[in-house]
Amino acid sequence: MSTATVSHHYSSTGLDNRKIAIWAFIGSECMLFVSLISTYLIYKDRSVVGPYPHTPWTDPSTGHVYHAILNIPVTSASTFILLMSSLAMVLALSAVENKGKPQRNLGERILGNSKLWLFMTALLGLGFLGCQAYEFTSFVNEGLTIKTNLFGSTFFTLTGFHGAHVTAGVIWILSMLFIDIKRGLGPSDALNVDIMALYWHFVDVVWVAIFTLVYLIR
């Protein structure tokens, strides 16, 4: 028996209802992001005015030169931050699952500290959101808004949708951290953390797709 979360109710598969529902939810979310990413790709290179993601653009009426908008180094850093948050989430889940087991040395005490890892996950998630806020404001300052051209509309909507998912995830993690501080999470809460982790990893995987298709491939 891996967790103490035993549903009182009979279930056909032996799995908890919530576990099945989150997978159905993730399947549905895939279609959401597939639609958003497809629209971005279909509209790629179709903007009639700049600025453009990968190439500079000179405004014919003013002569102003716009740089290629995307800042790959900053986004690489934020991608790394988000991927590390998934690692922290894995450690948080493991810490919750193993709560109550003897901790023999400092390493095991650190690895077994669920509050620390939940906090780290939320912090890294916030770090990613901070990078996105910086990215968005610098793009707007450079002259690309959601109204400027098709690139602006599709880019901000797609990454904004993803950012909203990260925000919801951070609120979820902070709520879980609050419960951990208030009464302490144990193996009986592992399923709830597991479901949150599935959502968080999914949001991460979506970002890997967005990073590759929007930022890396020209």
Partner: protein, 626 residues
Amino acid sequence: MATTVIETTPPHLKPFVPSPVPATVQTYGSSIWGWITTTDHKKIGTLYLFTALFFFLIGGIEAEIIRAQLGGPNRHLVSAETYNQIFTMHGTTMIFLAIMPLSAAFFNFVIPLQIGARDVAFPRLNAFSYWIYLLGGLFISIPILFGHAPNAGWFGYAPLTTKAYSPGVNVDFWVVGLQILGISSLAAGFNFITTIINLRSPGMSLMRMPVFTWMAFIVQFMIVLAFPVITVALFFLLMDRFFGTQFYEVASGGDPLLWQHLFWIFGHPEVYILVLPAFGLVSEVVPTFSKKPLFGYPVMVYSGILIGFLGFGVWAHHMFAVGMGPIADSVFGVTTMLIAIPTGVKIFNWIGTIAQGQFKATSASLFAVGLVCLFTIGGISGVMHSSPPADLQQTDSYFIVAHFHYVLFGGSIMGIFAGIYFYFPKMFGRIMDEKLGKAHFWLTFVAMNLTFFPMHFSGMLGMPRRIYTYDAGQGWDAFNQTSTWGAYLLFVASLIFMYNFFKSLKSGRPAGPNPWGAGTLEWTIPSPPPPYNFAALPNVTSRYPLWEGKQADIDSARINQQGGKSAEELGIVLPYNTVKPALSALFLVLMFSGLIVGHWLIFAGAAAMVLALYAWLTSPLEPEHH
């Protein structure tokens, strides 16, 4: 009660003898607060049924106005602008507020009973879905009272629906309203997928599941995969209208086909979302009144799954006229022809069941046969315009209107009526009047053909759909006049149904657990079922537990058909009643209303919704027990 005998002989040897009928009929109670706070799938299903029938009536009245306007040439009963609003709301209401929720009424009521469960997987989420549906339905419907209803057609083609071409609030209500209703369907989809996967009682393997539950299962997958696509399409439109993005701006390089593709990737699966539940209901009704297990059960299941898959690969047949090129046209033409195969298989399976059984004509079985006949006509005209060159002659004409009314009225609505007559006794403990029911059927059947068959001809003669009036002398007059008289007759038929429904609700003959001698689990328990459904979770050993005479099935049935005991006496824990899902739904709808009313309401609604959600998620579902 304890001595009641369950018939054990297989039905093809000896007809099933129903259990004795109790003299009194239980009700669900009438406290309004009880209904608002309920988490019981049966009460929520009942709420869906009443609400959806109300919207069905509204959509029907809109149809009557359309037909009155078109009854003769150059009529000016309503203005062109009002006509646009009425046909838009007729389509929107019938699809999103009548047929889908009528199916949802059966999903709610029947699925847990058919799989031997005490409730759905997430009872509070289920209540949440209903309240979003009700409030979203009112949100999208009320503007018509003020002349501001959506007016761009039920599939709201952008760029027509962008601010430049539809500057009023009409389309705002449509965009926001559909976004709200989508949340309801998605939440219900996750709930039912989980319910069917995880709450089947012991022995209820997938291939023993009743076909209605199977079709509902497939539909839920279609909902959770198709609705996100329209969510995105609507979100783009919403951003274009409210925040100045350029998704559908052709001058900025936007593709005028983007909306059409996204909409129909949702929209074609939606067609099967509308009709598969009706197929499921008919697959319960036909075997019961043929006294014979469904012919070709596995093929019925596989063909349903195949329809589910192929349903996602045919969307562009709605777009043959836009010039996608010969390759796309051919591919979508072929996939569309392919999907007729699994659908045809179903028709033959129902015919096979009836042909080999002892068919008994009742209101329910007549409506089921009505579906088999009428859906076939709609299916055949569907195959006709799967061929792009033929479709170019038919698209956007009344021929198309005839086609989709044969599949949606002749298919979905006939199946749903069969389901209402069939499950009314289980829902309310009383049987609907059979004489009135048969009158309702025959009048509906005749009037339906009178209304929609002539549209094939007016369409082939060139009458475009959505036209608000026309000149005489084009050969359309007689066909339109016939259609209009047919529509009036349909209304009379509906009045008979309404009278029968409310009369039977009050004074129908008590039904007992199994008035039809049906074979599946829902008929082993009292009508209406007690709050906990099953006193003991049934042990299922066959597809038709009441028919196949296995000892384990009979033992379960014998325990479960005894009513009168409370959940406490049996030691069954039921979820608390709670108002939090309804409150969360209310705040969510207020949040969306903020887009039109004022942006402060978005934030106020969102804050209130988050608080309500926290209150919901931190409170226990049910009392602790061990």
